[in-house]
């Protein structure tokens, strides 16, 4: 089974985020890490390879720093990696939207045939949750989202378990090639070992620019003009009137302003 895993580098989960000067995105002086659902997608891919053989290719799109997530993926067991280098202008700029990313990925893998393409359910930064779905559309492949489990189901078919609402699950059998967006927490992530890191240095890590694949950051259809930090405010409201009036006013506040009832 040949599996592509799309990984995104995002600000670390508990990073104290500060807006850049133009308030279009956050400042770069934070730690970055692999998007959490993507890490579970990688783990799912590695387990499929270990159980059924094949190849795992890790791919990311981002500035030079984003290659770190590929090195980690190689150290954990991916066979090779592809870095779609968005250039240094991408560092500190608003991320590409889901369509632009999906289109760039589809162009980058043109000519290769994957049985499975895994992405995380959504990214921890932009959080669109659309990249995998749009990628499937662009590739003309079936897709399934919020995947908890993947297993082969005969020749060029897989069976997946989807998480639905209210604790329900859906089991779907589908043909491959397919695109799956993976839910967090579905498996136990492995650590990169020292030997893995050393071996990763000898694994292929291809780099291609957006220009080389005929894509560009200008493909963004969704533009971030300005971000706002939620303002915290606290105040005291004195409710006057009779007990009945006060109770009515309190209920109105809780219902209409605080939205707690």
């Amino acid at each position: 089974m040949k599996i592509l895993v799309c990984l995104k580098q995002v600000p670390a989960k508990d990073a104290p985020l500060k807006l850049n000067q133009a308030a279009t995105w956050i400042r770069e002086d934070v730690s970055f890490e692999t998007n959490e659902p993507d890490a579970f997608a990688l783990e799912a891919a590695l387990r499929l390879k270990e159980a059924h053989g094949g190849e795992v290719v890790a791919l990311t799109l981002g500035p030079a720093r984003a290659a770190q997530v590929l090195r980690e993926a190689l150290a954990k067991g991916a066979d090779r990696a592809i870095h779609l280098d968005a250039g240094e202008a991408a560092a500190g700029a608003p991320p590409l939207d889901a369509f632009a990313i999906a289109e760039a990925v589809s162009r980058a893998i043109a000519g290769e045939s994957y049985d499975l393409i895994l992405t995380g359910l959504q990214s921890d930064d932009a959080g669109y949750g659309q990249t995998g779905v749009i990628l499937a559309e662009l590739l003309g492949a079936p897709h399934a989202t919020i995947i908890m489990q993947v297993e082969p189901a005969g020749e060029r078919r897989i069976k997946v378990k989807r998480e639905l609402e209210s604790g329900n699950f859906q089991f779907v059998e589908m043909p491959t090639p397919a695109v799956l967006t993976i839910q967090s927490g579905i498996n136990k992530l492995r650590y990169a070992t020292l030997m893995g890191i050393k071996q990763a240095k000898n694994k292929p890590l291809a780099r291609m620019t957006l220009e080389e694949i005929g894509a560009s950051a200008g493909l963004n259809r969704q533009l971030v003009h300005r971000l706002f930090v939620p303002s915290k405010s606290k105040g005291t409201t004195l409710i006057s009137g009779s007990a009945k009036e006060q109770a009515a006013a309190l209920v109105a506040h809780l219902r209409n302003d605080a939205h707690v009832i």
Partner: protein, 393 residues
């Protein structure tokens, strides 16, 4: 560490990321539970061992990681920077050096591959005695040759991680002090293969745990005609002190890196709390009385970190690293202690609450002022061996 405080954080990024990820799964609650139970962080050490981090300094030819000392120091830095404590397992790195540099090829083939595979642990080091601390030549433990074995008799103290090691490196006197030309002669190093705990007393070995300020397993150990095969002698008989001293520079540099890791952990906690804690309607970090000590501690930590990299580079280049290694350890231990104080002070009363982990790390980093070598002994070394001042002891 989120807003990256360490300007050298990009160095060895792969190692940092991997160690950080592993350590991140052992959070403050884990360490609090281990300490409350007075236990050993077995799961943590097993995870580090499984990932190959503790055998980083064993050459690849023997199945180890074959890393440089600088790279190894980054591993320990990241462990401490995560809020964990390398003290549970760092000796695996230090003690290996004696076997690596002075063991015969047969000895290395025998022990290093299983150590690299994590099947054996070499975590204990028995040099210090109740009546001979830094004055190592005064040790009283003796090893008497009897046929094809040596019989060890004596007492060691501050022997750490004894219940969690298979091998023990021990220094003993093989020629009486009165019979040698130089005090440093007549000492020998042995690698003891410890019998199972239930059989140790019958073999002539017993131990008594020492309760101490931090959750660190350390013991007083007694030997009474404990037999060691002659083939377990490391290096030349009578030249053991040199074998031990040889490893000291590496140990100093690695310990300095642990201090640096602690320092960044404390600073990040202090920085974050000072930004978040609002008193009199503004963050306490807005007060210069709070922010200046944090900023000063940061500057001192960065300076110490540069010295640590300088020492590691000298060591890895095969240059004389004694002065740099000792200076790095001195500065790093002072810097981490300053960071600890600043962090505790910034947190006020909450710093004393166990759930914040600060009081635990505060106790742990205090140890570096004393062990593995005290600050005063480093100053004495620099005064005598670098500055040419008269020997003071």
């Amino acid at each position: 560490m989120q807003a990256e405080l360490n300007p050298r954080a990009g160095l060895h990024a792969d190692i940092r990321a991997a160690v950080r990820e592993l350590c991140g799964t052992f959070g403050g609650a884990y360490w609090q539970e281990v300490e409350a139970a007075g236990g050993y962080p077995e799961a943590f050490v097993a995870a580090l061992t499984g990932a190959g981090w503790l055998t980083a300094l064993i050459p690849e030819a023997y199945g180890g990681g074959g890393l440089t000392l600088e790279e190894a120091s980054v591993i320990l830095e990241e462990i401490n920077r995560s809020g964990a404590n390398s003290g549970a397992c760092h000796a695996q790195m230090y003690t290996m050096g004696t076997l690596l540099r002075h063991g015969t090829e047969a000895q290395k083939q025998r022990w290093l591959p299983p150590l690299a595979r994590g099947e054996l642990r070499l975590q204990s080091f028995a040099v210090t005695e109740p009546t001979a601390g830094t004055d190592t030549t005064r040790i009283r433990t003796v090893a008497q040759r009897e046929g094809d074995r040596y019989l060890i008799s004596g007492q060691k103290v501050w022997t750490s991680r004894l219940p969690h090691t298979d091998l023990l490196l021990l220094l003993a006197r093989t020629t009486p002090l009165e019979a040698v030309r130089k005090r440093g002669e007549g000492l020998s190093v042995f690698l003891l293969e410890l019998p199972p705990a239930a059989e140790r007393e019958a073999a002539g070995m017993s131990a008594r745990p020492i309760r101490n300020m931090v959750n660190h397993e350390t013991s007083e150990v007694f030997f009474e005609r404990f037999a060691v095969p002659a083939e377990n002698l490391i290096g030349t008989e009578g030249q053991g002190l040199r074998c031990i001293l040889d490893g000291m520079n590496a140990e100093r540099i690695l310990i300095a890196a642990e201090c640096i890791g602690d320092g960044f952990w404390f600073l990040e906690r202090a920085r974050r709390y000072a930004c978040e804690r609002v008193v009199f309607e503004r963050p306490i970090g807005q007060n210069q009385g709070v922010q200046f000590p944090i900023a000063r501690a940061y500057a001192n930590l960065l300076a110490a970190d540069l010295m640590r990299y300088d020492a590691a580079a000298r060591f890895d280049a095969g240059q004389s690293a004694g002065a740099a290694a000792n200076t790095a350890k001195l500065l790093a231990a002072d810097a981490s202690w300053e960071c600890a104080n600043v962090c505790l002070q910034t947190h006020g009363g909450f710093g004393f609450a166990a759930e914040y982990d600060i009081e635990r790390k505060f106790r742990e980093t205090r140890l570096y002022q004393v062990a593995p070598i005290s600050t005063n002994l480093i100053l004495a070394y620099l005064a005598e061996h670098v500055l040419g001042l008269p020997r003071s002891y």
